[in-house]
Structure formats: structure tokens, C-alpha cells
């Protein structure tokens, strides 16, 4: 339960971090909050020879609302800071609602939004939110930068599109259209445990309560955040009636998701939870959309 030996480099700027990574390539791993990486190192499941510590880089820790209404969060921003920020609550309420479900308060005091996204645990909440909110991710290397959508970023279990010399620097959330509702729910055996199932829903309504856009994204339902596109399609052009929501729950829980089962919950139980949670989040999302 102790990590094997490694070398440690402390970066004091983004430039320095990128230089270290360019020098050492695959041998070096970035250390963000460490709340996922260090346990895996303690278990010796991951054994990087060099760690580049990002925790002393203030330029990656920020929450800004820009002039076009985009909420821009630096990758090293602590989850607890995001949880308490009034701009986040106002402008990205789905993110605000979801953060308290991440592990425990002590974990959120160190864990970062960027670290969670790059770790890409299929049971994590933040990748689901990245997809549900259609956030864009900014990635930099010593040679340049690029933007990528959440959908393209997550490539599989603990795998992302990030290249060996790249670093995630920012997460940009688009402004929310009028008449948009949201909801996030998950079920775990104890408070703070990984959830057996969780889902985020976002719906946008036209004036007459007809849904014109919807997203349903699941955690612990496959090898990454699962975007239930077929289920969400059922909502387009419909009102959030009980019958429609039931059809969506059925499609999502039986067809769109692919949970693996575990010692905590069988596949069938995970599907059952998905069905129940889908109904609940959709009811709440529709209700919130009507009230905006």
C-alpha cells in the first residue's frame, strides 16, 4: 500500500510544466489533486517514474464568466471552490448540483475538475457533466493548443484523447439557452461511495412546453460517460408526459447503456436504477425548464 520510488518535479508555471513533460514524455505523469492518482499509486496499479506536480501553478486555478456568457474554469480549480462559487451556481446550475456528490468534502478540498476529467473514471461525475453541458476542453502542449468536445475527449476506460506531451488547461461551459432545465441524481450505498448508477439530464423547451433539445448522460454505465442519444431523441417534439418519460427510461436503461455490474450492484440492478433515476431526473428537468 505504498507507492514505488519515483522522481518529483514541482512546476511553478504552466510553461515549466509543459517543459518538464516535453523532456520526459510518457515517463512523466502530471499530479493534479492526487485524489484518484495517489490511491492507484498506493495500490501500485500505476507506477510513473516521474511526477510533475501542478499544485503550485496559480494560473490554472480560476473561475471566470466571460463577456459572452461562457463560464471558464481552470483545470486546477479545486472541486470545493467550484461547489461554493456563486457564478457557477448562477450560470451552470447542473455543475453546482453535481459537485457535492463527488466523494467526500475532504476529497473535494484537493480534487480538481481537470484531474477528474483526465483520469476518466467511468464512474466519475464530472465527465458526465462535461457531456451533458456540452463543455469544450482546452488542451495545450509546448507546441500549441486545441479545443475538443467532451464527446471526443473520452475514449474509453481511464483513457482520453490527451497526447503524451499535452495538458488540459481549461473547461469552457456555454451559456444556457432560455427555458432549459437540468437535473443530476445518483445512488450509492454510502454517502461518498462511487455510485452504482447516476444520470444527468438537460432539456430545452419551446414556448409551448415542447422539448426541442435534450441530453441524458450516465455514469457507471459503460467504459466512459454514456450519452444516451437514442433515448434523448424520443423527447424531441414531445412534452414531458409520463408516457414519453417512461419510453425514454425504457430505451435508456435497456438499450443505450451497457453497465458491467460489480460486487455492489448487478447489471440488472444498475439497469433498474437507471430506469428509476431517468424518470426522476426528467421530471425535475422538465419542471425546472417550465419555471425559467
Amino acid at each position: 500500500m505504498k507507492p514505488p520510488p519515483f522522481d518529483y518535479l514541482r512546476a511553478t508555471s504552466l510553461e515549466e510544466a509543459l517543459e518538464f513533460k516535453a523532456q520526459h514524455g510518457e515517463e512523466a505523469k502530471f499530479l493534479a489533486g492526487g485524489q484518484s492518482l495517489i490511491p492507484t499509486m498506493n495500490f501500485r496499479m500505476v507506477q510513473p517514474s516521474i511526477l510533475v506536480d501542478l499544485n503550485e501553478i496559480p494560473e490554472l486555478d480560476y473561475i471566470n464568466l466571460d463577456s459572452e456568457g461562457y463560464l471558464r474554469i481552470g483545470a486546477m480549480t479545486r472541486q470545493c471552490r467550484i461547489e461554493q462559487d456563486p457564478e457557477v451556481e448562477r450560470n451552470e446550475p447542473l455543475l453546482h448540483e453535481t459537485i457535492p456528490f463527488i466523494a467526500h468534502p475532504q476529497i473535494r478540498n484537493r480534487g480538481t475538475i481537470g484531474g477528474s476529467l483526465v483520469h476518466a473514471d467511468p464512474a466519475a461525475e464530472l465527465p458526465v457533466i462535461a457531456l451533458a453541458t456540452q463543455a469544450q476542453l482546452q488542451v495545450k502542449s509546448a507546441d500549441g493548443e486545441r479545443w475538443i468536445s467532451g464527446a471526443d475527449f473520452f475514449q474509453g476506460m481511464f483513457m482520453t484523447d490527451l497526447g503524451p506531451e499535452e495538458i488540459l488547461v481549461e473547461i469552457k461551459f456555454p451559456p444556457i439557452p432560455e427555458r432549459t432545465g437540468w437535473s443530476f441524481m445518483e445512488v450509492s450505498r454510502r454517502s461518498g461511495d462511487y455510485a452504482m448508477m447516476g444520470v444527468a439530464a438537460v432539456v430545452t423547451l419551446e414556448e409551448n412546453e415542447i422539448c426541442e433539445d435534450a441530453r441524458l448522460v450516465y455514469l457507471n454505465a459503460g467504459d466512459g460517460p454514456v450519452d444516451a442519444k437514442e433515448a434523448a431523441k424520443i423527447l424531441i417534439g414531445e412534452r414531458g408526459s409520463a408516457a414519453v418519460i417512461e419510453a425514454v427510461s425504457e430505451q435508456a436503461s435497456q438499450k443505450d447503456i451497457d453497465p458491467f455490474g460489480s460486487i455492489h450492484a448487478t447489471m440488472d440492478y444498475q439497469r433498474h436504477l437507471a430506469s428509476v433515476l431517468t424518470t426522476r431526473v426528467l421530471k425535475q428537468a422538465f419542471s425546472r425548464a417550465s419555471n425559467t
Binding site: P39, H104, P105, Q106
Partner: protein, 166 residues
Amino acid sequence: MDGKEMETTKHSIKIKVNGEEHACEIEPRLLLSDFLRHELGLTGTHVGCEHGVCGACTVLMDGVPVRSCLMFAVQAEGHEITTVEGLAESMEELHPIQQAFWDAHGLQCGFCTPGILMTLVPFLEENPDPSEAEIRQAISGNLCRCTGYQNIVEAVKLAAERGLNS
């Protein structure tokens, strides 16, 4: 494993713990929890799961509760660490939260207690009059196998009633 011993450079660092600065030479892989216990002899911080779940290792870094098993000691350079040994003003007088736990029988074996105390100190400073639900939420990241949490909650209520400045 190829059987080769990997030589890594030890780092010379200064870490401030409970107001006192310590200079030491340590491997980067030394966890903060092990540093506190083995290098400094501050065994009040306990090690339970080493993967962030149980909370027995909780200490304060710059006044904020963190899992010392999920930090490397080298990361603490430039920051202030507070452990349970740093709570009481003197050998004669316990910190009000410790006194409340004593009076309300808020511990049995005491293994989880330091982690719970360190979680509670900033919580009570920010929430001097918490509801029971808020208390239970605040300690949701700390596992106790002995008490069933009942007297822990009572101890917190007692501490809140008395105030942290008593």
C-alpha cells in the same frame, strides 16, 4: 518487476507542522501520513485504508481538511500542516472540541477520532450552530466502527453549545 533497485533523489525540504518548521531529507514517495507518523513521531494521525475512504488520516493543510494518505510529504513544503497534536493549547487544557468529545463519550477505541476532530474544527468555525443533519453531513467522510456515530454527533452539539472559544 525487473528486480533493479531504483535510486531516486531524496529531497531536502522544510515542512511546517503545528507551527514548527522541520527540515528533512525524504523520498518523494513518502506519504504525508507516513512522514508525520515516522519522521516526526506524531502518531495521532492514523492510517486506515490508504485510499482516501476512511478519513482516519485527515489533517489540516492551510486550515482545510485533507487526506494525508493522498498527499506526498514533499507537496507540503510551503504550506502549514495541523495535526491533532496541534489542537490543545497545553498539556493541561484540551481544545474545546476534544473536551466535548471527552464529556459526551464521543469515542471508544479512538482510532477515527483524530480524523474526525480535524474535520470538525474548521466546520465548527464556519458553522457555529449546526443542525444535526449538517453535522452528519460534515462527518460523512469519516468512518467509525465503534460508536455508531450517535455520541460523536452529541459531542459536536455539545461543542457547538459551548462555543470554540471557551
